[in-house]
Amino acid sequence: MSTRERAESVRFRIRLLLVAMLLAFGFLAVHLWQVQVLRASEFSSSLDRQSIRRVRLPGIRGRIFDRNGTCLADNRPQYCLAIYTEELRQRGRWSRTVDKVDEVIDEMALVLGIPRQVTREDIQMHVQRRLPLPFLVWRGLDERALARWAENDRVFVGVDIYVEPERVYPLGLSAAHVIGYVGRADAVNTEDNPYHYYLPEMEGKGGVEKTADKRLRGRAGGRLIRVDASGFKYEEKGEREPVPGEDVILTLDMDIQAMAETVLINKPGAVVVMDPRNGDVLALASAPAFDVSALGSQTAWQAVLDDPGRPLINRAIAGQYPPGSVFKPLVALTALVSGRVTPATEVSCPGYITVGNKPFRCWSRRGHGTLAMRKALEQSCNPYFIDIALRTEYKRIYHMAASIGFGLPTGIELDGEAPGLLPDDEWKRRERRDAWRPGDTANVAIGQGALLVTPLQMVMFTSALANGGTIYRPRLLRGKGGTDGDFVKRMAWTPAQLAVVRGGMHDVVHAEQGTGKRVRLDGVEMAAKTGTAQYGNGLKHAWVILYAPYEAPRYAVVMMMENAVSGGITVAPKLRELMQMLLVRDGTLVAPPSIPAEMDLDVIEGEADA
């Protein structure tokens, strides 16, 4: 090979080399086209996936008002101090940033003169789990601490005031059972949760807060933030404002509610006041009550849970009691409707009645003599009602009670409502392994035996007596406009039949020896029925059902007290007090010149009804 040939061959090889190199660059360019142009959106979304975080922003919870516009549940700004961790970020290991935050909190505690609320573990948790969000190191600052902060806020970098809504109940204990309370909602940790940082909202845990939770909550919004490779916030990309929750207006009248709670004086019992014209619940009180605002700590909770008075139970809807004599108007109406008994049907009361071979005593040992229905209601005569119940046959009483709504929850907008118990043959065979006997009918006729009712069911029935036979569902939430009640059904009671029962209840109050004479108020006619139900070893629950005014009733009231002497003695005077305040308030009565006459305890003995 000559030198020249060799040179030529070398030149050829160099050219070949250049072509190969340029082809390789061409290959790179083609690949770059694929990556940068054809797959650009795929990589852009990868980028967003790793750098964009969605934060859920809960809506502000709606408020709760009573029918007069009194606020029952409100949101108050709670002043917090938040540390924005990205501004305290330290280079190097994570623990250095945690140390720095720890140090700043210590300095702040010194300056503000308040103890630390977060531990080092909390800081670590925040750094690991929700780094781009403000870290709340103090909640619920008082004015003193706020003032100190205002003097020193320039000293601390990356710390700022943060306002968080706090649920408050301005009226404290009042209507606590109805309003309920809230807690932090559990974060949803399911697959379809699209948020990286889920800020839970307050969630109703009881009462109307729970049943109207959907309306109160509103709709959560969200915020997009871009974070850097370490997870600190870099910028905000956008925000969708949360929609605040709706306000909820209750049918309650807090004045009446307060009166009801006053007369209960925190002794176990319940008062329900309902408007018989539409089923609006004006007051629903249960005693003893609890103070939601004081339930902040675990120990306070435990104390409430351990309280033997069981203050968390709403006795007005969840308490199931034997009704005793307040059940008798129902027996009377059923008897009249059946046609087997007329208002004039007379029964003789020798002080007892024998059913099967078992004697049932009347509360009056001497007996009432011969009496008809109106008088029997006034005197609450047991043999009379046992007699007509046996004539009427139990199935009719059962159906009447069931169609009024006994034995089932009324459907009021509260959870935890109890159904009560309306026994029948099938129930007895199932539970007691025995057939229904006349003795059972006799027991139910006087509101005893297995029969259980709630105060709310009782007020629903009282309303129907007051308004001429219309059953309304007890209603707590006011709809949007419209004050018509939630009509359930009209009972097939003729005015004549009703007139007898109503007349008897009128006499309970107004007759000389009426069992409910202690309810009597000058200047207004009312109708009532007392009841005293025995349970266990001589313990008694005392009832009064009442509606007023007699001719055009605006109030149907039930008052029940546990462990009382009797309806006529224990409950009636308290109910009188309540009715007086109630009727003075709406102008039916003028304010009394003096306090009610003191109770004459000597006459108790003979008047305790069964």
Partner: protein
């Protein structure tokens, strides 16, 4: 006398390849701009003014560039052993006194924080020696003994660098040497054989790493066979995530994945200068963005248009080098040009290919764009040699 020397120098410089000068200038400018972009948001205050230090390196590089352009490249032949030997010495010294950065002893600290990387110098030193030896007319290039000598000269620095350990830099020696042999006229069967041996080595390593797992061998067996490859855990990790990217996305796979996202999300036109999200947010680690991953920054901020522009500029650069080699009639000059052009080519190709996920991550910088002093000086010197060849390519006396 002095005036005359300066006049000669100007005359020579006027004869230099102005396309090459222009391309070098543009690449250097791009380098400074994107090194700035890669660092300007960092919290680390010592990284932010990196572009200023890059300007300093460029100044030193330009001195070398002009110096080598004005110097007759044939003087290199006289010092070839000295240069080569010096590089070897430095490579040995760095193994004992070098500073360890990212697990490898690469740096030889000279004045305080100012250090050099002997491995970068050795790249050029080896090319100079090989070009000198392969261009000697008396060489019988078809004799295997000659080839073995050449291979030994390459293996010596490459082996020392592997000890640092810096596999990427060591690996670049072999293809460059093969290109030199190819251009020098070594019979194709030898070059082909070497390529075959190289491929077999790669195949063996990959088989050692992955075959046992594919065949379902136990953990211990896998580990024992994998250790036969002679790679460190770190190196194995990089190769493993190249084949199985989902294996360790937050560790060894992080840079590869983030670089791909940066390049891909750049799209056709890019996000705009200083607007590279991956880089600003630190997903592309700030320690590598201005150096090995500078191409990702360009590609993200300037898109496909920007990355192709960079490729075209490098194509022109290599073209100028090869052109100088074609113009000259001196075999030494030809081999120098071919060697330097291929050195640039392999760096560009491997660097770009790794940023878009076509090759495993290796620590090879992008010539003239990446931040780094030693490589900048070596590259500018090498390009100066090409200019030196170009300026003297019309001399008849070299042709015998």
């Amino acid at each position: 006398m002095r005036d005359k020397a300066i006049a000669t120098a100007f005359k020579q410089l006027r004869k230099s390849n102005w396309l090459l000068n222009g391309v070098v200038g543009m690449l250097l400018l791009l380098g400074v701009l994107f090194v700035y972009s890669a660092c300007y948001v960092g919290d680390e205050t010592e990284i932010r003014p990196l572009y200023l230090r890059q300007l300093l390196w460029i100044a030193v590089g330009l001195v070398c560039y002009i110096g080598f352009a004005l110097t007759d490249y044939r003087h290199l032949k006289r010092f070839e052993w000295g240069i080569y030997g010096g590089c070897l010495c430095l490579l040995i010294v760095v193994l004992f006194c070098g500073r360890t950065i990212y697990g490898a002893k690469r740096w030889l600290m000279l004045f305080g924080e100012l250090g050099i990387q002997p491995s970068e110098l050795a790249k050029l030193g080896t090319i100079v020696l090989l070009a000198g030896r392969l261009s000697e007319p008396a060489r019988q290039l078809h004799r295997p003994v000659e080839l073995l000598q050449v291979l030994a000269l390459v293996a010596l620095p490459a082996g020392l660098i592997m000890l640092q350990p810096d596999l990427g830099t060591a690996m670049v020696f072999l293809p460059t040497a093969m290109v030199l042999m190819f251009v020098a006229g070594v019979p194709l069967r030898y070059v082909g054989g070497l390529v075959g041996i190289g491929a077999a080595l790669v195949g063996f390593v990959l088989a050692a790493l992955f075959l046992p797992a594919v065949l379902g061998a136990g953990e211990a067996t896998q580990e024992r066979i994998a250790s036969l490859s002679g790679l460190s855990d770190y190196q194995r990790g990089r190769i493993e995530v190249f084949f199985y990217p989902e294996k360790d996305p937050l560790g060894a796979g992080w840079n590869k994945r983030q670089s791909e996202i940066a390049v891909g999300s750049g799209g056709l036109k890019g996000k705009g200068y200083l607007r590279g999200t991956q880089n600003i947010l630190g997903f592309l680690p700030r320690s590598v963005a201005p150096t090995d991953f500078i191409f990702s920054v360009v590609a993200e901020e300037k898109g496909f248009v920007g990355s192709v522009t960079v490729l075209v500029l490098f194509g022109l650069l290599i073209g100028c080098g090869v052109w100088a080699g074609l113009l000259t009639l001196d075999p030494l000059a030809r081999l120098l040009c071919a060697g330097i052009a291929s050195l640039i080519f392999f760096h560009v190709f491997i660097n770009v290919a790794m940023t878009i996920g076509l090759m495993p991550i290796t620590g090879l910088p992008l010539p003239l764009l990446s931040y780094g002093g030693s490589f900048m000086i070596v590259m500018m010197s090498a390009l100066g040699i090409i200019q030196s060849v170009y300026i003297r390519s019309d001399r008849r006396e070299t042709y015998r």
